[in-house]
């Protein structure tokens, strides 16, 4: 097999598929990328058995065949060649040869036949939307996913179809983020699937051209997203996501409207002197005013007072300031609405003008 391609055309698809490749391999071939030449096109595949990424690229002087090469090394070589360089690739026996100008690299290969395939599967839900919408839904919630939690079904993002709405939900048990968007496809079957954390992160990387169309297919154990000639497939987490509706707070009677930037900067400054590990800040609320205080084991203290729109009883409540900052960084509008009820009850944060995304944060005892 062989082909010739410009360095610039190969770089992007190669970067995409390398995203799925684990640096730390328990099965050697998983650190390789599969290269398949057929006609005047190559198909590149990277996988960690959980996530599979496939990208295509047009090539010249092609001779059909297939081989696997170490993905990171191949990527590093292509990346470090000069812009506009031409790359000649050929493979024979157990070596692949990469030539460009006066540079020559010989890479160890493993047989393409040994490269693992994700089993065939059928999708029972298909939908079409734009990258903007999917990216918006993921970016609005991804920071609340658990990481390496024993409750493995929290180490990912819930995607829910419901009437003509697509919704994402993520929670680590301390906070929860939820975002919904109408996608104009009536009669969608209602389904809940959990995409593993790594899949979510890879998917987010792919969504870099907002106007492009995107196709989503959901099966029993897999989800596939196709856009711009790239195909992303992820296994789904086999588990039941908790019923998020049960933890959405009801009947909070203390409603605060605050300037988002003002509150965010106050939080960031107070955070500097909060306990590095627990990141607690005390929020003291009184009519028209919110006071944030933080202190650390060295007995250093921070105090921030901001004006807010609030009329009601005073309240003291503690929060992990990182959770507040995450939300304030994600919400887009200029004003945020906080709905609270008591020092032991969860708080609800949302854009004061837009209720498509909701954030629930449990307090800390201080």
């Amino acid at each position: 097999m062989k082909f010739t391609v410009s360095r610039d055309a190969l770089l992007k698809p190669l970067q995409v598929v390398s995203g799925a490749v684990e640096r730390r391999h328990t099965i050697p071939i998983l650190s390789n990328a599969l290269i398949q030449v057929s006609g005047d096109e190559i198909r590149l595949t990277g996988t960690d058995l959980e996530v599979e990424l496939v990208a295509r690229c047009a090539v010249d002087k092609a001779v059909d065949g297939q081989v696997t090469v170490p993905a990171k090394k191949f990527l590093d070589i292509i990346r470090s060649l000069p812009d506009g360089a031409t790359v000649e690739f050929s493979a024979a026996e157990d070596k692949a040869l990469v030539r460009s100008g006066r540079s020559k690299f010989s890479l160890a290969t493993l047989p393409a036949e040994d490269f693992p395939n994700i089993d065939d599967w059928d999708s029972d839900i298909q939908l079409v939307t734009s990258q903007t919408i999917l990216k918006g839904l993921i970016e609005a919630t991804h920071f609340s996913m658990a990481n390496q939690d024993v409750r493995y079904y929290l180490n990912g993002m819930l995607f829910e179809t419901d009437a003509n709405v697509l919704r994402t939900v993520a929670t680590d048990g301390h906070r929860l983020a939820m975002s919904s968007c109408a996608i104009g496809q009536p009669n969608l079957t209602g389904r809940q699937v959990i995409v593993p954390r790594k899949g979510v992160m890879e998917l987010m990387r792919l969504l870099d051209s907002p106007d492009s169309e995107i196709k989503i297919a959901i099966g029993t154990n897999h989800v596939r997203v196709e856009t711009n000639g790239i195909s992303f497939t992820s296994k789904l987490v086999d588990g039941r996501f908790p019923d998020y509706r049960r933890v959405l707070p009801q009947g909070g009677d203390k409603v605060v409207i605050a300037d988002r930037e003002l509150l965010k900067h106050a939080c960031s400054r107070a955070a500097i002197l909060s306990n590095e590990k627990y990141r607690g800040v005390r929020v003291s609320l009184s009519s028209g005013e919110m006071c944030l205080t933080a202190n650390n084991p060295e007995q250093e203290t921070a105090e921030e007072i901001i004006e807010v729109d609030y009329q009601g009883d005073s309240l003291e409540i503690g929060f992990n300031v990182s959770y507040l900052i995450d939300v304030l960084n994600t919400v887009q509008g200029s004003k945020v609405k906080l709905t609270l009820s008591g020092p032991d009850a969860s708080g609800l944060i949302e854009d004061s003008e837009d209720d498509s995304s909701l954030y629930v944060v449990m307090p800390m005892r201080l």
């Binding site: 730390r24 328990t26 493995y152 929670t171 906070r175 969860s346 449990m362 800390m364």
Partner: protein
């Protein structure tokens, strides 16, 4: 800071109690001896390397050890002296770095990430530390890696008086070839279950789905084993330790065959001892996570019964005792232990969403 750029070492003092005794009485050096009780009810705490050649091992009954090695000499343990010596070792380690965590009386974790001595070489630092310890008459072995578990396992590779490095990029391969018995936390019961399902080496776990391991070992243990085998051990070296559990246990002077006698021992000896160790006046004011009763029977088999709860309760100990007693099958009881797990003081800070 990325976890793979850390430099973590475990230093293990070789046959510590035995070396400590040789320091006090050099004549012991050339004869097989064990620290522990040599009497009818004694147990070997440590044996020197000469005795180990006869098969004498820690936790073996004194009588059995004597059968393996008839010339075995017994030295009564002196824990006060060992603790004082261990503190001396800690002080030496702290001359090299303040990031030292005493993991037990004879094991110390060191975080050498920020260490700049010896051009930042962890291996050469450990060589120097071991040289210093040798000068006071103690030999030690060390394992060096980027995380605690691998450092600990690696410390066994060149024992006694040696050290072994597992570089970050070889951690996964190193774990792959380990038998699961060597992974901390895999006890005989878990090992049996894992072997039965075809898991023998680290690589078998590396290639398995976490859900399968959770089915075999339970949610927490299965997840933890999977993480550890994949090379994920983010545990930091903790220089100030909070007590995690408090326990008391005693070997009885005579085996007991009546529940009444065991209950009496609990009432008169162990409960007052435990209360004293907890450092409080009344049981009700002690916040805990769980309580455990342990019984060791005349055939050296032991059993434990635990229950989670938020306040310590002496009556629960009696209930747990009766449940453990049910398992005795005609055997007598030779040892009774009581313990409570203490809550992590920080557990209470962040409240949880009611997800389930």
């Amino acid at each position: 800071m990325s976890f793979t750029t850390r430099k973590i070492a475990l230093l293990d003092l070789d046959a510590f109690f035995a070396s400590a005794e040789v320091l006090r009485d050099p004549s012991l050096q050339h004869r097989p001896f064990a620290v522990g009780g040599g009497g009818e009810r004694g147990v070997v705490a440590t044996a020197n390397y000469l005795a180990r050649q006869f098969g004498v091992r820690s936790a073996m009954s004194g009588a059995y050890a004597r059968r393996l090695c008839p010339d075995l000499h017994f030295v009564a343990p002196d824990h006060g002296y060992y603790r004082q010596l261990s503190r001396q070792v800690l002080a030496i380690l702290q001359e090299f770095t303040d990031q030292v965590e005493p993991a037990s009386i004879d094991e110390f974790y060191l975080d050498l990430t920020a260490n700049s001595a010896f051009q930042g070489s962890a291996s050469r630092t450990l060589e120097a530390i071991r040289e210093r310890l040798r000068a006071i008459g103690l030999s030690a072995s060390a394992g060096i890696s980027c995380q605690k578990m691998v450092a600990k396992i690696a410390s066994e590779e060149r024992k006694p008086d040696g050290q072994y490095v597992v570089p970050p990029d070889q951690v996964v391969d190193y774990i792959a070839q380990l038998t699961l018995k060597r992974i901390p936390g895999v006890g005989p019961k878990s090992l049996e279950r894992l072997n039965l399902l075809g898991f023998y080496h680290g690589r078998d776990v590396q290639q398995a789905e976490v859900t399968q391991l959770q089915q075999i070992l339970g949610d927490k243990a299965g997840w933890l084993l999977h993480q550890r085998c994949l090379g994920n051990d983010p545990r930091a070296v903790v220089t100030e330790r909070v007590r995690k559990s408090v326990g008391v246990e005693e070997t009885l002077r005579h085996d007991l065959f009546q529940l009444r006698g065991v209950e009496q021992f609990l009432d008169e000896t162990l409960l007052p001892q435990l209360l004293k160790r907890l450092g409080c006046q009344r049981w009700q004011e002690t916040a805990i996570k769980s309580q455990t009763v342990k019984l060791k029977f005349t055939d050296f088999q032991q059993t434990t019964v635990s229950r989670t709860g938020s306040k310590a309760s002496p009556s629960l100990f009696y209930q747990l005792l009766r449940e453990a007693w049910e398992r005795r099958e005609q055997r007598g009881v030779r040892l009774i232990g009581l313990s409570v797990m203490l809550p992590d003081p920080d557990d209470y800070l962040q409240l949880e969403l009611a997800l389930e």
